[in-house]
Amino acid sequence: MKRFDYAAPASLREAIDTLRQRADGVRLLAGGTDLLPQIKEGGLWPSHVVSLRRVPELRGISFDPSTGLRVGAAELLSDVAAHEVVSRHYQALAEGAGIVGSVQTRNMGTIGGNVCNAAPSADTAPPLLVFDAAVVIASRDGERQLPLSEFFLGPGRTALAPGEIAVALELPPPAERSGSVYQRHTPRKIMDIAVVGVACRLVLAPDESMAEARIALGAVAPTSIRCPDAEALLQGRAPSVALFEQAADAAREASSPITDVRGSAEFRRELVRVMTARCLAIAAERARLLSERTCR
């Protein structure tokens, strides 16, 4: 592999200082499953690699029913997928984190890395978007929070400024009667990259209408996207197959896929329609099931 200098700071403060001192050509290393292939084969040649492995502030998954879920950026995808609270209350996220790459990928790759690599097909991005996740970002000047919907700027591009590090993802508390799902289409069951990814989250009001609706798509636009028009169609109305079909049509219109080796634009748009309708039905079913059992 191309040679580079390496540092492994032991605190966030030290990591930020190291990043600032070596501003040009520095890359942050988390799990390495994206960065190392980019260095080996993708034409990337950093002069310095700063490892985040030993930074304790980036670790930990914590949940509080009143404030929600906080996932450290360096938490492994396998740990996010297996976490009990995530599996129960943030099911779409557990599904997204649990399907990235292989066992090995998930044992090395981190949730922060999956987000900051900003692949349009990132499997954790649509789930995080439907949970209204925010990215906690640290720099020398302190911390700021940015909604994930404003974090992605394009393929491989994020709102992180030079000298900034993504520290954690924060997700609001789960609603009483809510259900979520993430599904993706791939030619192979596992070890593949999404042709289309769809995440949905629905919250049911006591009168069975949808108090909240979220739809997010992956791999069909330069970034993962929310579908506000489709969501607005659902808001305040009762779930039905016909309504889900309408919202699915609107989601299809929100997508702007390209044709590439994984599928044509036309195929992807059609997949968005079919998969959105399917995922909305699953989310509604899960919201009902969850409300039958006791929540929390």
Binding site: M1, K2, R3, F4, D5, Y6, A8, L29, G32, T33, L36, P37, I39, K40, E41, V49, S51, R53, S78, G101, S102, V103, Q104, T105, N107, M108, K189, I190, M191
Partner: protein
């Protein structure tokens, strides 16, 4: 510039001198001299370089050697005990799960990581556990059968 690090491989300490850009795979093969792990793709897609690091299956071609310092590293060489093959190794032989052999060290370690966490996996769980390990010879059926047989044996029943 090269730096001295100590890797703990199969319970033994290896003092090695590596570039920061050297992968764990390179350090284990070229410095520690353990040739079981193979380089296939070099980009984490094929699993031939799989090792168990601190209890987790990883692709050692995507891990820097310096990042593995202080960790417990298990390679295929660490499975046999007192000249006795690990039940997974024996099952691969007995059931004809090995053809060219290039993927087998990684495949067996993937099986071990699975059985350590889930001693009685269903065939579908075995297939998911080895999804990151490509074999171009066998078609996987005998590999899945061998892991299932090893699971049975490890649980003390007759295969």
């Amino acid at each position: 510039m090269k730096r001295p690090i100590t890797l703990k491989i199969n319970g033994q300490r290896h003092d090695v001198l590596v570039e920061p850009s050297a992968t764990l795979l390179e350090a284990v093969r070229d410095q520690a001299g353990l040739m079981g792990a193979k380089e296939g793709c070099g980009t984490g897609d094929c699993g031939a370089c799989s090792m168990i690091v601190d209890g987790r299956l990883v692709t050692s071609c995507l891990m820097l050697a310096v990042e593995a310092e202080g960790s417990d590293i298990t390679t295929i060489e660490g499975l046999a005990r007192d000249g006795q093959l690990h039940p997974l190794q024996q099952a691969f032989i007995d059931l004809g799960a090995v053809q060219c052999g290039y993927c087998i060290p990684g495949m067996i370690l993937a099986g071990k990581a699975l059985l350590d966490a889930n001693p009685n996996p269903a065939p579908d769980e075995i297939r998911r556990a080895i999804a990151g390990n490509l074999c171009r010879c066998t078609g996987y059926t005998k590999i899945v059968e061998a892991i299932a047989a090893a699971a049975t044996q490890l649980q003390g029943a007759t295969p």
